[in-house]
């Protein structure tokens, strides 16, 4: 279980660090790959660009996706993941500051598996991260045929 990768798409290094902190506080030791923008995230998912040659059948256990991203924004990243048959079953949780209804509706309609708002209170953040990890890494049964290392 600990082998499975978590893809964190987050442009803000503070938020990325806080997320990593929160995950480790919850004793989640999985490898976390951080993509600083939408392009990096998609490169990782499809083995292109800086991730050229990556075995893309090794799908992340969960993609934690911020919405407001440089270059390609989070909703577009989600749309592309969902529209490609290689990645369309990838669990994606939106983790964002936005509490806009519109964002939530768009996120879900594009096929997000869950939508979590990042609280300012770090205690709550830790709680949220813990629950996310617990759910997606322990409770949730992955899609059949996904390679487990």
């Amino acid at each position: 279980m600990d082998d499975r990768i978590i893809l964190l798409v987050e442009d803000n290094p503070d938020d990325a660090l806080l997320t990593l902190d929160a995950l480790s506080t919850n004793n989640i030791g999985n490898k976390v790959v951080v993509a600083k923008n939408g392009v990096e995230a998609l490169d990782y998912m499809f083995g292109t660009g800086m991730y050229e040659g990556r075995d893309i059948s090794d799908m992340p256990a969960i993609v934690l996706l911020d919405l407001k991203l440089p270059k390609i924004d989070g909703l577009e990243v989600l749309r592309r993941i969902r529209s490609d048959p290689r990645t369309n079953l990838q669990p994606v949780a939106i983790l964002t500051s936005s509490n806009e209804e519109e964002d939530r509706i768009k996120g879900y309609s594009l096929g997000a598996n869950s939508y979590v708002r990042k609280p300012v209170d770090f205690d709550e953040f830790i709680l949220a991260a813990g629950q996310l990890g617990l759910y997606w890494l322990l409770l949730n049964q992955p899609v059949p045929g996904v390679k487990i290392k």
Binding site: D15, V120, D123
Partner: protein, 721 residues
């Protein structure tokens, strides 16, 4: 009433003159007919008297002829020469034969030269009787003997017509008698005697009576003294014979008529007391060869026509003419009444037309638009004051001119065609709706106009009314409006851009302002947790304060977002149960703060028309406030209810909490306005601003009543759809 009066006046105008003419004509006709009738009567009377006179004259002539006949007999001649007994007998025989043949002769006598009766035959009981010698009388002293004696041979004596006397007395029954005599002479011319015939006048009187016309009219016979021989009754006749009847003469009864009769005229007419008398004089000597000595002996044949007869005749005519007049009067009345009715109708319709004309004029002159009336050939017939003002032409300038005078040169060419096509289909319509029309003024200026055309029939004429509206001002206004509109579109676009910007700003705020706060809070927490041993209490406290401030700011940001979201949200009104919403909010609050004990009273089935989500925000804020400000009260109470006030549903949220000073009520609903210490009652100061926005969005009102320490009531209405 008015028209009745006119009707009678019209009737009078036709009827009275005609009636006058008819009356005059009928009067003249009547007069003429009366005259004719009178003349006719006169002629009739005259011919009657003439005829009667002729008959008398003939009778008298026969009498004379009879006497001469007897005198001329051969036996008579023999007796004259030889007065022998034999000859006398022959004469007597002749006389007898004669008397038997002519019974009207009462006596036939022969007197000798001495006046002694030689032969006398009397008619007794229808028989001719020879009077014996002894009874013969001497008549030498009688007036008739003397008269006859003085006559020449062949002359005839006619006695006055009188009554027979017998031995000096009037013989009864009355025996009217005329004595006819003629002298006889021998061959040597010696007077030998006279033949005397007593003729009974009854016969000629009876003959005369045949001429009596009747109907009150009478035929009379008068002698030369004016006495009636034949008159209106036996008691008036033969006046000269009776001493007591001497006054029964024409001279006394009708002196004027008598006077006229004496004027030596043969035939004449006279009147007295409107009775008419038609007379004819009959001179005896003109009948008989009597000689000059009997000139005075004449009669009058007279027809008396009483006034009543003439009046009756006149009355007949009068009646006929009255009938005629009545008939004509009636006919005239009917005809004139018809005429008057027609005339009245004409007058009324004329008046109506005149009134309409006045109205039309007033309408024309009072119109705020220019009005030009033209005939079928385009000649201007009428213009109003406004047309004068707008065109600059005077009325005299325009009337009689062609309408094209008011058109710019470039539009004149086709205008005639347009006119013709309009005349083919003359309906009320606006002219050249899609084209721009212009009016050329006297000064050569072109004014943009709008023209409405309508047909107008006046009498036999078909005219076209053009109503011309100066639209210069309107055009300017339209241009101005267009300009404003452009401006508005620009502003609206700018506003849209701003709104879009604001939205992206809000989005950024939501994301980007929170991220640093998370870093501040998160890393502070890391320090507190992982580096606790390296920090003293003061350091820990300050880090906690940093965290609190960060969280506070996050709350502010969320509040602002909520506020802006309300403005951006499209509202959808529906039936919302405020009671249900309020209970939800309260149970959430109770969940967050389970230690609080608050008495809640929510009026059941409190419904409102509004946007469910916005109303939730509204109630959440109001009830949260009430919850918060009752935090330090032992017996906390929150009441939600609604009442109808002036036909408006008013909702209220009441608490018995801290309340506020009404002096600051004006600041209550402003953003970031706080009336309490943050220590005592923490808050962002955005809640009531949000509430106010929700209320504004619904078109409602919100106000509050409070007193410090005595709680507060927030009233609100939600307006209408």
């Amino acid at each position: 009433m008015f028209s009745k009066w006119i009707y009678y006046r019209l009737l009078g105008r036709f009827f009275l003159p005609l009636l006058l003419i008819v009356a005059v004509v009928i009067g003249l006709l009547y007069h003429q007919e009366i005259e004719t009738l009178d003349k006719l009567l006169e002629k009739e009377d005259i011919s009657s008297v003439e005829l009667a006179t002729q008959v008398e004259r003939n009778a008298l002539a026969t009498l004379g002829a009879d006497a001469l006949y007897l005198a001329g007999q051969p036996n008579m001649k023999s007796w004259i020469e030889y007065p022998s007994g034999l000859n006398k007998s022959a004469v007597v025989a002749d006389f007898q034969w004669f008397q038997e043949r002519f019974p009207a002769y009462d006596q036939v006598r022969l007197l000798n030269a001495q006046g002694m009766e030689e032969i006398r035959l009397d008619r007794v009981s229808g028989q001719s009787l020879v009077v014996p010698q002894a009874q013969l009388q001497n008549k030498s002293q009688r007036y008739y003997f003397k008269k006859i004696h003085s006559l020449s041979p062949g002359d005839i004596y006619v006695s006055p017509f009188d009554l027979n006397l017998e031995r000096g007395r009037i013989e009864i029954p009355l025996k009217p008698v005329i004595r006819i005599g003629t002298p006889v002479f021998n061959q040597s011319g010696k007077f030998r005697g006279s033949i005397l015939l007593n003729y009974l006048g009854t016969q000629i009187l009876d003959e005369l009576r045949q001429f009596s016309p009747g109907d009150g009219r009478e035929i009379w016979l008068l002698n030369n003294k004016g006495f009636w021989l034949l008159g209106r009754g036996p008691e008036q006749e033969w006046g000269f014979m009776f001493p007591e009847r001497q006054q029964h003469t024409m001279t006394i009864a009708y002196p004027q008529v008598w006077e006229k009769m004496q004027n030596n005229i043969e035939v004449g007419r006279a009147s007295q007391n409107q009775d008419l008398f038609t007379f004819h004089r009959l001179d005896i000597n003109s009948v008989t060869p009597g000689g000059e000595s009997f000139k005075q002996n004449h009669w009058y044949v007279l027809i008396f026509t009483p006034k009543s007869y003439i009046e009756e005749k006149h009355a007949d005519v009068k009646r006929n003419y009255l009938y005629m007049f009545a008939l004509v009067f009636g006919l005239l009345l009917i005809v004139c009444s018809r005429l008057a009715q027609k005339e009245l109708l004409r007058a009324e319709s004329e008046q109506k037309v005149a009134e309409q004309e006045v109205q039309y004029r007033e309408l024309l002159e009072g119109a705020p638009d220019s009005i030009v009336v033209a005939d079928q050939s385009g000649v201007i017939r009428m213009v109003n004051v406004e047309a004068e003002r707008v065109t600059g032409y005077s009325r005299a300038d325009l009337v009689g001119q062609n309408v094209e005078i008011l058109l710019p040169q470039r539009l004149r060419e086709n205008h005639e065609e347009y006119r013709q096509s309009y005349l083919e289909n003359p309906v009320v319509r606006s002219m050249g709706a899609s084209k721009e029309l212009f009016l050329l003024t006297k000064s050569g200026m072109e004014i943009p106009v709008e023209i409405s055309l309508s047909p107008l029939v006046r009498g036999n004429e078909r005219l076209v009314t053009s109503i011309i509206r100066d639209i210069t001002q309107r055009k300017q206004q339209v241009a101005h409006i267009k300009e404003l509109n452009r401006d508005l579109v620009m502003r609206s676009n700018a506003l849209k851009a701003i709104n879009l910007e604001l939205e992206s700003f809000s989005y950024s705020v939501s994301h980007d302002l929170r991220a640093p706060l998370r870093a501040v809070d998160g890393f502070s927490q890391t320090i507190i947790k992982e580096y606790a041993d390296k920090l003293d209490d003061r350091g820990k406290d300050r880090l906690e304060r940093i965290r609190k401030a960060a969280q506070n700011m996050a709350g502010l940001i969320d509040g602002l977002l909520d506020l802006s979201r309300i403005s951006r949200t499209d509202m959808q009104r529906e039936e919302v149960s405020l009671s249900k919403l309020a209970s939800e909010v309260l149970s959430q609050l109770q969940e967050i703060d389970p230690g609080r004990k608050v008495t809640v009273s929510i009026q059941p089935e409190m419904n409102a028309q509004g946007d469910a989500r916005l109303l939730k925000v509204l109630l959440t804020n109001l009830i949260s406030n009430a919850w918060k400000f009752t935090g330090q009260v032992d017996d906390a109470r929150i009441v939600l209810q609604s009442k109808e006030l002036n036909g408006e549903q008013v909702f209220s949220v009441q608490d018995n909490g801290a309340g506020f000073n009404m002096d600051y009520a004006a600041k209550l609903f402003g953003a970031f306005q706080r009336l309490h210490d943050a220590e005592e009652f923490p808050g962002t100061g955005i809640g009531l601003a949000t509430v106010k926005r929700v209320i504004n969005k619904h078109g409602g009102r919100i106000w509050a009543e409070s007193e410090p320490g005595k709680g507060a009531v927030f009233y609100f209405t939600l307006g209408e759809e």
